[in-house]
Symmetry: C2
Subunit: 287 residues, 2 copies
């Protein structure tokens, strides 16, 4: 199978968050001929939204997504209202940045203000997620910002996202906004979904609804030493990346391939240019 | 909802593996009035199979399962043959111990003899699992030992088990041996399946096939600090244990509730009697 078009590489700014602030990241992407970027909101805020938007525009980068909205479940009505307000701000930021989508990490079990989980009702949390996306959707449509539900690996069900399969994300889309062109879709991150025996079918289903908004790549390491920050560089783990790309393409996805690696012990310790060079090489060679 | 019958408590020997060898574990269970045990093969081998079987019989304990068979995928035919041979020995040991089932942790991606993963073909691994269970089944039926497929959490898909949902385990049963009374069923461990939005439906499906052979309990901690050995004591995490027990009972499960906790930093550091006392208290109070 032929390697992917190098022009389709995008880099999520978390991948080099330990090395650089936003202006340096943008400069480095340009230096390496990388055409896409997916920024995190805290990194944007650190550098300033308008300044970042101008730099990205001047650099000619495609913003493959803004990370992230979501985190809908909360202890009470006030908490859910605060989450919705924050999501509206995220939509505005995505619009300012010209992002192709706002990525939604939907949130796990409801927490109190100290961050402690206060409920074991995961079905209830999933209802809050559905309602939260439903409420946000109209605002996002008005702003012209597509929302991309990102199913997260089941190991994050309690504390980060209680939507843990692409099937569940597709179900939410079917319920809330069945046509992707109306502004609700999915982000497929191989790290979260590679294990799923129903993955091919659900990618096809998402494609049929024109809701494949983003494709995130990295790798699953064996062993994985940390639940959060031990993601692998493409090729260093066990995910059959060409196979999943083929499924995405067959389902109609024509967007970029966004590298998102959280790696405390390895990639965040290295020189940022080495990281980006490796992203480019591995994207061509093994994905 | 009323607490469970205390007589239904069983303890998996891994829960106190750091504290005691097998004879001491059996004595301690008797001392605490715990009526069920689920031993690991290495702990049995350490103490001797016949001696362990005699002690368990003399103590009047129910053996809720033997841990574990499985690990079917391998690099080559010789490796798969070796796995099958080892599984036959596991069946024999389960028969000697009078175990209610042999728990199958089916294995992940194929590894070489050094334990390194040598393939990214998870669909192929799943075929090896299906074929391996199919080959083992006749032998197990002859020995009168039911096989219980245990779906493991998706975070173990690469290295321990590529059957990661109860739906997949049910599919395998449907294909290989649809009636549980013919010797193939499932082990439901809350740690592995609690996050699954289809859990209730799949428990009902397993119950309809009379294939609910075992029920394992512990808890999911937030945060979880280790992928393998940071399981929580019931009540210390976020799993709605009474709800899942209710689903199991509604689906016809009448067996024991087996506590299986791997906990390097906490429960394996404590006095074994304290661990068992806590298991008893929490079983009654929060499951």
């Amino acid at each position: 199978m032929a390697g992917p078009d190098p022009a389709l590489l995008s880099v999520n700014t978390a991948t080099v968050r330990a090395q650089w602030r936003m202006p340096q990241i943008i400069d480095a992407l340009v230096r390496h001929g990388i055409r896409g970027i997916s920024p995190w909101r805290d990194q944007v805020a650190d550098a300033g939204l308008k300044d970042t938007a101008a730099r990205i525009r001047d650099a000619g980068l495609t913003v493959t997504g803004l990370c992230r909205g979501g985190m809908f479940p909360a202890e009470d009505r006030a908490g859910r209202r605060a989450a919705l307000d924050d999501n509206r701000r995220a939509v505005d930021e995505a619009a300012t940045l010209g992002a192709r989508c706002l990525v939604l990490v939907v949130g796990g079990l409801p927490k109190d203000r100290t961050g402690r989980v206060i409920s074991k009702d995961i079905a209830g949390a999933r209802e809050m997620v559905r309602d939260g996306i439903g409420e946000l959707l109209e605002y996002a449509q008005g702003a012209g910002v597509p929302l991309a539900i990102e199913p997260l690996h089941p190991m994050y069900a309690a504390d980060r996202a209680c939507v843990n399969t692409l099937a569940h994300a597709n179900d939410l889309c079917d319920e809330l906004c069945p046509r992707g062109r109306d502004g609700l879709g999915v982000a497929v991150d191989v790290y979260h979904v590679w294990w799923d025996p129903g993955l091919r079918r659900e990618i096809e289903r998402a494609g049929a609804g024109e809701r494949l908004f983003a494709y995130h790549i990295c790798d699953w390491l064996v062993p994985t030493n940390d639940l959060l920050n031990d993601r692998g560089m493409m090729g260093d783990g066990v995910i059959d990346l060409p196979l999943i790309r083929r499924w995405m393409e067959a389902a109609g996805y024509r967007g970029m391939h966004e590298v998102e690696i959280f790696s405390t012990a390895n990639w965040w310790q290295r020189d940022g240019d080495e990281v980006l060079l490796t992203c480019k090489q591995r994207h061509e060679a093994v994905t």
